[in-house]
Symmetry: C2
Subunit: 377 residues, 2 copies
Amino acid sequence: MTTARILDFIRTRRPDGPCLVVDLDVVRDNFQSFRKALPDSAIFYAVKANPAPEILRLLANLGSNFDCASVAEIEMALKAGATANRVSYGNTIKKERDIARAHALGVSLFAVDSHEEVEKIARAAPGARVFCRVLTDGEGAEWPLSRKFGCVPQMAVDVLVYAHQLGLVSHGVSFHVGSQMTKLDAWDSALGDAKRVFDKLAQQGIFLKMVNMGGGFPTRYLKDIPTAQAYGQSIFASLRKHFGNQLPETIIEPGRGMVGNAGAIKAEVVLVSRKSDEDDVRWVFLDIGKFGGLAETMDEAIRYSIVTARDGDAMEPCVLAGPTCDSADVLYEKTPYPMPVSLTIGDEVLIEGTGAYTTTYSAVAFNGFEPLRSYVI
Amino acid sequence: MTTARILDFIRTRRPDGPCLVVDLDVVRDNFQSFRKALPDSAIFYAVKANPAPEILRLLANLGSNFDCASVAEIEMALKAGATANRVSYGNTIKKERDIARAHALGVSLFAVDSHEEVEKIARAAPGARVFCRVLTDGEGAEWPLSRKFGCVPQMAVDVLVYAHQLGLVSHGVSFHVGSQMTKLDAWDSALGDAKRVFDKLAQQGIFLKMVNMGGGFPTRYLKDIPTAQAYGQSIFASLRKHFGNQLPETIIEPGRGMVGNAGAIKAEVVLVSRKSDEDDVRWVFLDIGKFGGLAETMDEAIRYSIVTARDGDAMEPCVLAGPTCDSADVLYEKTPYPMPVSLTIGDEVLIEGTGAYTTTYSAVAFNGFEPLRSYVI
């Protein structure tokens, strides 16, 4: 999965310490795949997945829009060349002064999921367009989706009516099926909910225009995943089924699906040991762990593909852990990870599919270890 | 629990955004309490708990030693005024080149828990003193203790014999009862294990000198905790019980117990909302969450005391969450947190007992949010 360009970079540059290397060619390919798979949907890259300036510049040049979680991310998108009309402030939890700052920067599209947030936007960004996020169940997603974002569809109707009353443009509905979603039909019931919200508002003379279908598009870790094309066909079929010939404008917000498979982390085996002579399972300690960028191993949720130069040798299950003095800094223990029996201290390992949700998760200085470095090539 | 100095600082300085404020007077008091509680034990402050230069300088001046997890932490301790003989490289997982760097800086005390680590130290820090960490069960600790560190006592014997054979000084045994340990007798069985390792090595003519009794000393969150004095008495009784009149040198490594109650985080309510009209439980979103410094709320392990100006009002259980676009950024949901019914957007909250394990855990830039700022006063 890791590209020759990344392997070449690591081989020739020999960076010391753990680092992420991202191949922009893969990002470009992913963007084109999404564009082809859903030609009528606007692509809003989820900046939080990886805000490296080189990635944002490339995507801005390719015509991408940007889903931003904070004013800092909005500023990064603008700096990369996006205009403010290509930015969505997609966080449903915003300080009023941050809404005002985004408004001053020209952003006019905001996510909400409550009456309280609508009031803030009406005050700080009068006349802006808002879309209301609806809760989905997240079944089939590998990264846990809580009830944190969104409200039930009936409340979304009320929230959008309220926005209209406060002089905002009630623009649409959003949902998120859950990150690393591998079920092709996961979008279907949420699109049905969206349509019902459209209909109820239309009865009150408010005509929504847009459905933000969120992210959730997976990256390949250990298991094969459907193609962007397959997602596109399934989603388009659901759109037709629920909206018939009156298709709304649509948005997708790929993050992991855009950059996940574009990056690999080079790491090093620091120690291989056992806890007793009788232990079946060896412990393999890497120089990167949960607090150095691999936060998504929380509860062993995301299981990365890990490649070594010894993968032809016999394998045995190992507990995999990070380098900090924190007991919680263990990557895979409940389900041990097969590693070569011959693996030894000093060996290099490649953790694949780590282009998304790694660098920014890394702790600022836990145990004195510096944050994950990254190279975008 | 939060001191008048911290409250004054927040009231007069009005820092924008979430921040930690640490009162050095409390750190000084904690140091003196540990010194009084265990007058014969050397105190090695666990730098990873909070490496703020002001804290390290104060403790260096007070005569503290330093338990360091990395070369960066060793350098910080030295810069704060400690000499290398007051530093322990307490991480059992070290790159050989980091051992060499520590050795070059004059550090001569190293933790091990495996033959492999002993070999690295013999090569990179010849003649150094080593102590071997023994596994304990961690029962009664509020922060999970995995099997990540330590080996079974019989293997510790073998590891220390091996160290002796390789020309190192087999200096002692260490253990850790688990962080935020509220059981006073938790040290007893580990001290029994330590004594048995001492005895088995003595039979081979190797005489250990030191027991590193680790950290685990709690800080007060919502429940009362025993005093340092009570821990000291219980630990001293166990030392007597197991070692009789031949008491070893002892070390303690307080981190949370040294700085936890010295700090409070000022945060702000960003949103208070419900997911449906029928919901009993409100959602309260703060401008700090799991990725902004409150990582120890993982699995709702550490339950902080949260104070507002409205605490006299009626209370109701709330789900408490952070500001990022990440579903996992929820602090307390399984066990909702009682907050005032009158709590509203823009209110300030004080998260108490957050002097340890907050700033360094915070993500470097997740969702574009800057890492937790800190003020040491």
